[in-house]
């Protein structure tokens, strides 16, 4: 198991050799991810691990993938999607153009969920979904829109719980244990590498979705990310976070109004 001192060294080395800054990550989560990979890959000593991280680019990429948790599903927390379907998308209907940013999109399940909601609301044609992640390899998966077929049963159930009325199987083609989502959905998506730690705002959005990403950040980095979202949201735009996240006690709070007790905030000035 790594100790605090070793973690500090690792964070410094990663930054010096690869330019990724993990100093603002929640320490307990970061430590757990590192301990896990250290154990899985059977390193004999911390020095051996460190040297691999420094010089083996491929290994470093695997490390990043392991540190940045990529567990996601379609229509995760169906009640959240129900609110999007029933309240948020109708509020955006009058816009000539709808821009949505999925920050920390991982393998893209939430982006495809959103595209389905937009299509069912008749809004997909005037929408554009920007999906970003720090990790290039998950973006490749997201771009393909190909997920294990075995997950579709759970996804279909979530979809129904979110208020979906269609036959969920009409959204994908099944083949050899895989489900490929219809390209009419991915046509409206733009995938790009972006770091909430070091990159800035790149567009103005009507809705920013960043769920269960900032839970891995410490308070300071959370503030940075929230400021970035604030800079990137149009007036009356919406910010959607994970079910256990909040903007309470942060500097941007006063500019936002929470939608009842949902984890959705509207920018009011």
């Amino acid at each position: 198991m790594t100790d605090d001192h070793e973690l500090d060294i690792l964070i410094t080395e990663i930054f010096d050799y690869h330019g990724y800054d993990f100093s603002g990550y929640s320490r307990a989560s970061f430590k757990r991810r590192i301990d896990r990979i250290y154990q899985l890959d059977g390193f004999g000593s911390f020095e051996e691990f460190l040297s691999r991280v420094r010089f083996d680019r491929g290994y470093f990429e695997r490390l990043v993938e392991e540190i940045t948790v990529n567990v996601t599903e379609m229509f995760r927390d169906p009640s959240f999607y129900k609110v999007l379907r029933e309240e948020i998308l109708p509020a955006l209907r009058s816009k000539p153009f709808i821009r949505i940013w999925h920050a920390g999109c991982s393998t893209g399940q939430e982006v495809y969920s959103m595209a389905i909601l937009l299509e069912e609301a008749g809004l997909l044609s005037k929408a554009l979904l920007y999906a970003t992640d720090i990790n290039q390899s998950v973006l490749e998966t997201a771009k393909q829109g190909v997920f294990p077929l075995s997950l579709m049963k759970d996804y279909a159930e979530n979809y129904r719980d979110s208020g979906g009325k269609k036959d969920f199987t009409t959204y994908y083609f099944a083949n050899y244990g895989l489900a490929k989502f219809d390209e009419r959905l991915s046509q409206k998506m733009v995938f790009s590498q972006h770091s909430l730690v070091s990159d800035g705002s790149f567009n103005e959005f009507d809705l920013i979705v960043c769920r269960n990403v900032m839970i891995y950040f410490d308070k300071e980095l959370q503030d940075r990310a929230l400021q970035l979202f604030d800079d990137s949201l149009s007036r009356l735009g919406y910010l959607a976070l994970g079910t256990k996240e909040t903007i309470k006690y942060t500097s941007v709070q006063k500019k936002y109004e929470q939608l009842r007790n949902e984890k959705i905030w509207k920018k009011i000035n």
Binding site: M1, S26, R27, A28, S29, K31, R32, R33, V69, V71, D77, S79, N212, M214, I215, Y216, K219, Q222, G242, T243, K244, E245, T246
Partner: protein, 196 residues
């Protein structure tokens, strides 16, 4: 705000349970008194839902300050913190609680092992880990970590557990500091404050 008046807890009691543990909690929590120097954290396996029925129930029955943990909630003495369904719970040294949606461990999220291990790493000897009734082997690895880092390990006596598998499994892997029936667990926690 009241937030600032509460000092860091002297002890962190982490209670892990699965099938059959709710009844034990409903028995133990109402018996607690003088816990103003102790922070209590409950990590139970439960179905993901939007409601706060568990928190409501525990609050009603115990009369204590019971709240579901959100991202970076601060650990407070005198309070019962309840881990949310479908997130792992981690402890930071600055007393904040971190959530994590990484893969399930032993088919569980929250994983009792992860919570115990993380509490032990953050708070060492201040940790009291209590393992209750349950139908799987979650918790044992976590108890080993707590023991190794100087904390106190308490296991519900399997004969008093509705589903004895989980405490019995732990008992085959380690020697706890105490094996206790529910009422004795409450007495033990109450006794922590008097110890100083």
């Amino acid at each position: 705000m009241e937030e600032n008046q509460l000092s860091a807890p002297r002890y962190v009691v982490v209670i892990g349970g699965s099938a059959g543990s709710l009844d034990v909690l409903l028995q133990v929590l109402p018996l607690l008194e003088n816990i103003e120097k102790i922070a209590i954290v409950i990590v139970v396996h439960r179905k993901n839902s939007d409601d706060n029925i568990l928190e409501e129930l525990l609050r009603m029955k115990s009369g204590l300050h019971v709240k579901e943990i959100e991202d970076k909630t601060l650990l407070k003495a005198g309070r019962i913190h309840v881990a949310p369904a479908d997130y792992h719970l981690l402890f930071e040294k600055d007393q904040s609680l971190a959530l994590d949606v990484s893969e399930k461990v032993q088919y569980s999220r929250p994983s009792i092992d992860i919570a115990f291990e993380s509490a032990a790493e953050a708070f060492g000897q201040k940790v009291i880990a209590v393992l209750l009734s349950g139908a799987n082997s979650d918790g044992t690895d976590g108890l080993l970590a707590v023991k190794k880092l100087g904390g106190i390990v308490v296991i519900q006596s399997p004969v008093t557990a509705d589903v004895p598998y989980m405490p019995a499994f732990a008992l085959t892997h380690l020697v706890p500091d105490h094996v206790l029936a529910p009422i004795a667990i409450a007495d033990f926690i109450n006794g922590l404050n008097g110890g100083f």
